[in-house]
Subunit: 368 residues, 2 copies
DNA sequence: GTGAAAGCGCTAACAC
DNA sequence: GTGTTAGCGCTTTCAC
């Protein structure tokens, strides 16, 4: 805002170059400055309230000193999506501690064209963190074509070169399912996530693997195409209730917390209770899970850590540091709450009788 | 990333200056370019994939083309705070539509010193949006001292020059209280927000005004110093339960949804029910209110709109447009849900008998 | 209508 | 150790 390095230099009776090297701590600079002069310059700078112009510096050093964080769309931040929030916290924390500034972008199309090319992938930032829940992103292609440094988050890729942070979706699906199996459930349904989101498939695979490992069949009606929304849980439940009582599941692994809560609420409205009528597991372990009624068992992803990991990896790339693991898969865990925690009564028995007895339970609960 | 305006100029057989004016649409530029040349330049630019270097441009034009959004601390983004989220959505949406980039900062102290001075208030951005829930901010002082353009959000100020977006906290407190009064409640408590947050006082004043207008007394035990956290609601309830039954309130206006839900959960644990034992009103109308058990009546602030308004005002200031209203107060509303919606039984009666009958209700509910 | 020249504020190379 | 010089990529007078 007015006061430049030349003003400082003049005040300290040195050249601009001397001031520059003195102030920017330059280690490898060829222009050396005596400790005493350095002190004088620093004093004057503080005195004058000098603050370097970041863009001028960027222009000269060819480094922006800023990172970009790209979300798929603006509404990604809407209240209902704690995931984006968590990623942002992680990224911001790490960026700050590494003295990098953070710019926020969305890859939302404007007039049908992604503004990405010129706006995002530019020397405005040194690198990008791309949150890409669905495959096929023009931003990413652009980055790769231009060899612009970037790290993706929740992006399924086949490119071994790509730097990508993921959570262990397969394991998450498996964990949820194994938990239900351990409680004695045999008929377990899965309300699957949207097909356009890449994490849906591995979670489903985890579910199927757990079932297979336990020697349990997965009949087609147990796989319900749902989604990540409230309403998907409601519809999913209705789909399950259309089945003849004997064929209904006793437990459900939902696409995420929102979906699970949608289901729980509909259950509530119909006089059904978890875990007695259906045991329910969610995904994400947001505080939606904590506050649900009953509190919801849910798979937890280390969201904030994912943001931090992405940022660290990006910065390492920018520094040219070696990257040990280009596509780390962060561990998930299961938080058990009341929506599943009762041992399913008929655990030791097998097959049909169990279903019937569950039906009895249901009627006895309903009037409660 | 390599390709400069000179490359474009050379390719089109013109000077860099011509290319510059042609490409940046320059209206008032003295360097005119014929429509035909202009087209040729534009074509070449596209062909070469030219994208102007934003920092070089900023340096020359002295405008950064970016806005800064400052939150008080990193954890402001934690899952539990949909407010920051909402503000961000609003700001981001508006910034994008105005072709401004957005940088994210926190005013968190690092090593006890705010990094603000040099980092945030700098030509890196053209102006700042400061979310300042508590009075006294060094960033803000800094901005004012340097006449750096900024707009505050949720900041109580006495400076008529300050641009500041607020919600009508007074009206919010009043609305909540009037609603409870209309339902027949006479003993209404207020779990007050933290004293360090500037919105607490006007909300309390709204509560007191509504009570006074209805001719209802506010006895000291009805004003409980709580806060914006879960635990504050729990503690608040316990404080109220310490009162002799006859002196307890029949309704509570809580500092915010989190506080209200903390209270509701504790009530639940103690076998108490809303609205029968205590009618409860929250604040913010987050989806915490929607999902609460029972769903929570809450005062809604137009959070996203506040973010948008702040951004619009900042941009107007930067453009030098006249600003009609420097400190707009955005309207709030009340979303009524089950935590209050029953008419209080003893509405027509008065005073003590009512309290007694509530006590009876309580015991009948407890064993349910 | 177009080009040459100067400069935004900073850093990096090189000479002394 | 320190100063001089030459850009980083762009815009903007001003002369032609």
């Amino acid at each position: 805002m007015g006061i430049t390095i030349r003003d400082v230099a003049r005040a300290a009776g040195v050249s601009a170059a001397a001031a520059s090297t003195a102030l920017s701590g330059a280690k490898g600079a060829s222009t050396r400055v005596s400790p005493e002069t350095r002190r004088r310059i620093a004093d004057k700078a503080r005195e004058l309230g000098y603050v370097p112009h970041p863009h001028a510096r960027s222009l000269a050093t060819r480094r922006a000193g800023a990172l970009g964080l790209v979300f798929p769309y603006v509404q990604a931040f809407a209240d209902q999506n704690p995931f984006c929030n968590g990623i942002m916290v992680g990224v911001l924390e790490e960026a700050i501690s590494e003295h990098q500034n953070l710019m926020l972008f969305t890859a939302a199309a404007e007039d049908g064209e992604t503004p990405v090319d010129g706006v995002i992938v530019s020397p405005r930032v040194d690198g990008l963190i791309l949150v890409l829940p669905r495959p096929g992103s023009s931003v990413l292609e652009h980055c790769k074509a231009k060899r612009f440094p970037c790290v993706t988050v929740v992006h399924q890729t086949e490119d071994p070169e790509e730097c990508s942070i993921n959570a262990d979706d397969f394991r998450g699906g498996r964990l949820a399912t194994e938990h239900l199996i351990a409680l004695g459930h045999r008929r377990i349904a899965h309300l699957m996530g949207s097909q356009h989101i890449s994490s849906s498939a591995p979670r489903r695979l985890g579910y199927e693997t757990a079932m297979a490992d336990a020697g349990l069949p997965v009949e087609p009606p147990m796989l319900v195409q749902a989604g990540f929304d409230w309403a998907d849980g409601t519809r999913g439940l209705e789909r399950l209730l259309e089945l003849p009582p004997k064929e209904r599941p006793t437990a459900v692994f939902a696409a995420n917390d929102l979906c699970a809560v949608g289901m729980l609420r509909r259950m509530h409205a119909l006089g059904l209770r978890a875990p007695d009528d259906f045991a329910v597991v969610g995904y994400d372990d947001t505080w939606l899970a904590e506050t649900a009624n009953p509190p919801l068992t849910s798979v937890r992803m280390p969201i904030r850590e994912m943001g931090m990991a992405a940022t660290r990896m990006l910065i390492a790339r920018l520094k040219g540091d070696p990257i040990s693991e280009r596509q780390p898969v962060l561990p998930v865990s299961l938080t058990v709450r009341k929506s599943t925690n009762a041992i399913h009564r008929d655990a030791p028995r097998s097959g049909d009788p169990q279903v019937a007895s569950v039906e009895e339970d249901r009627s006895s609960q309903r009037d409660h």
